[in-house]
């Protein structure tokens, strides 16, 4: 019988059915960070469990660490970092901490290290674990209780999801990036539109993306509610597997990690690549986005009173007026970083816009490379020089930084940020901070203009 890629991955990892209707699935590889794992380790210790297979886990420091230098910025974050290291030492788990040349944002580190391959099942206490779908691997985020469960059993309790295929056909226009593609999908499907679904991305516009672009797409699939995102493995995937320190460790034989041609999905969504423009978010949910050429919505655009009230609330928080043009929105800060957009390809994309130009007066511009390896590569390519000449602050240490402001990179109350990150929630980048999501190139364009701007005007 024909199967989707998702079903093949679930079938390949099923350990057994459980009496209550769940199944146990096997986790090939598990990643931890310093903030969602401490209570899992203490749970193990309290209950007297051992780690089932210590070599199948990796712990990375990324969420709370400072990026201005390698020393923790305060005692509380130091406690989290030290606690993770102590737990890893105790249980024999690999730990890539501050100062380690392999350290960085977990979802940037894993592909760099060659720890993702088609056919794998990867779990992590972080919602953006959907990133690994770019490689034809089943990656998904879990809570801390489930982190404990994976540590103790190498499995998870699992319920098979429904499948959705999102096809983006045709070519996208110049200036449209992977970020714009996924933001368009979030806008089309809605912030909770894929709850309960595993989403496979297909179509010429997806196949045309490089691996970094595919990771951006799968990374943000969680913003439409998808618990898993997938892209069929192809020649680009095969090439990307080569040349890393763990290359060749995982080769799941006998399966082609693509959906069968006549596989049936529970839901199909189709988007024309030609209809996608560079997008920005105007509100406080990732599906509240508009083309950079458009205006912020008005109450008359909505029918229900709930929708009108939601619009008013978002606009109040964001400090915007109905019908205001996107390009009239002045920014205070430009931020390039995060597991969505801090890879070398993202930095090149932004540097391409910044080359020979200057950040507008009064705009604070920061770039945080996704990993130590990415930073070194970018410096060798001359990207750092371009960013710094333009007036960007180049951070020497890697981490999640201002994407969620768990370290000391916190936007102030009312501060407006053009951000290459993944969530524009209220308070996400700091209490009262106002986030506009966009591609790294669009952040660069906004930094130069001092207001949200169309990257296509910066050729």
């Amino acid at each position: 019988m024909s199967r989707t890629l998702y079903d093949k991955l679930v079938d390949a990892h099923k350990v057994c059915d459980l009496p209550d209707g769940d199944m146990l699935i096997y986790v090939d590889f598990h990643i931890m960070n310093e903030y969602t794992s401490p209570q899992a380790f203490s749970g193990l210790d309290t209950k007297g469990f051992n780690v089932w297979r210590p070599e199948a886990h990796l712990a990375v420091v990324d969420h709370v660490n400072a990026t201005r230098g390698s020393a923790p910025h305060d005692a509380a974050s130091k406690l989290l970092i030290d606690n993770l290291q102590a737990n890893c030492t105790k249980h024999g788990i690999a730990f890539y901490g501050l100062g380690d040349p392999r350290q960085g944002i977990e979802h940037v580190v894993v592909p760099e290290q060659g720890l993702v391959a088609p056919g794998m099942l990867i779990a992590c206490g972080d919602s953006h674990t959907t990133t690994y779908g770019a490689y034809g691997a089943l990656g998904f985020g879990i809570g801390t209780s489930e982190v404990e469960h994976v540590l103790a059993t190498q499995t998870l309790r699992y319920k098979r999801m429904q499948t959705m295929r999102v096809t983006i056909d045709g070519d996208t226009a110049l200036g449209v990036t992977a970020k714009d593609i996924i933001m368009k999908v979030v806008q089309t499907v809605g912030a909770g539109g894929a709850n309960g679904f595993a989403v496979e991305f297909a179509g010429a516009a997806i196949r045309g993306l490089d691996m970094a672009g595919r990771m951006t797409v799968c990374n943000m699939a969680v913003e439409l509610g998808a618990r898993a995102a997938l892209i069929a493995a192809d020649e680009k995937t095969k090439t990307a597997l080569q040349g890393h320190s763990h290359s060749g460790q995982f080769a799941f034989n006998g399966e082609s990690w693509i959906s069968d041609q006549d596989a049936i999905f529970n839901q199909e969504v189709s988007i024309s690549g030609a209809d996608i423009e560079p997008l920005i978010t105007w509100g406080t949910s990732p599906d509240q986005s508009i083309p950079i050429t458009a205006n912020v919505p008005c109450a008359v655009d909505y029918i229900s009173s709930e929708a009108k009230a939601a619009l008013a609330r978002s606009l109040r928080y964001m400090g915007l007026s109905e019908g205001q043009s996107a390009r009239s929105i002045q920014i205070d800060t430009a931020f390039i970083g995060s597991c969505t957009n801090s890879r070398i390809e993202d930095l090149r994309e932004a540097a391409n816009i910044l080359d020979g130009r200057q950040v507008a007066a009064g705009v604070e511009a920061i770039v945080v490379p996704g990993s130590a390896m990415t930073r070194i590569k970018a410096e060798a390519e001359g990207l750092r020089a371009i960013f710094e000449a333009a007036g960007f602050e180049w951070r020497p240490e890697a981490g999640c930084s201002m994407c969620l402001a768990m370290n000391d990179d916190i936007a102030m109350d009312g501060e407006r940020v053009a951000s290459s990150t993944n969530r524009n929630f209220e308070g996400r980048q700091g209490r009262g901070a106002r986030t506009h999501l966009m591609s790294p190139a669009m952040v660069a364009a906004a930094a130069i203009a001092g207001h949200l701007a169309d990257v296509r005007d910066f050729k």
Binding site: T144, H149, Q249
Partner: protein, 206 residues
Amino acid sequence: MKDKQMTKTIMGIAAPLPLANVDTDVIMPKRFLITITREGLGDGAFADLRFDNAGQLRPDFILNNAPWTRASILIVGDNFGCGSSREHAVWGMRQLGINACIGTGFAGIFYDNARKNGLALPIVSPATRDFLLQFSSDARGHEISIDLESRMITAGDISASFEMDDATQTGLIRGRDDTLDTLEHAGAIRDYEAGLNKEMRISVLK
């Protein structure tokens, strides 16, 4: 480990929280996440909605007003719990005294985290949710009842069914430890591993 005491019915005053897409950053702001324990998160739950910048209670937030200060059930908008995987959001809600959220749909990771911590998330139709929003807005604070076994919600004279998958229902009623339960299948896990090729086992370099 023996099962904890069974929870078959959840009763209490419900508070209406109709906002859509309430994310886990709003449920548990990041400044409360710098911790290595599960404790002390009750103050963090909905902190930016409950308190103003000076730390004073916001009078416009429902849980700050009687009778909803005693609410143990929330009637919530679509896609509640979206965003970050932080289980701290669920821990904080439990420590605030919330035993159930009733809505039309929940984000996946939040749903799984809730089950592990005894937070029931009955899924109802939009019509039932709208009725419950209205019912819970009544300042007389009538209780509602959630029967986990029969999957029925009763509010005044009205009863309505809800959706909940079998495993979640069983887990909530028994309040069991999933990890302990799973270790009873250790043999099946070893059998699965025995079937893996050497090329299918990651060994992370230290």
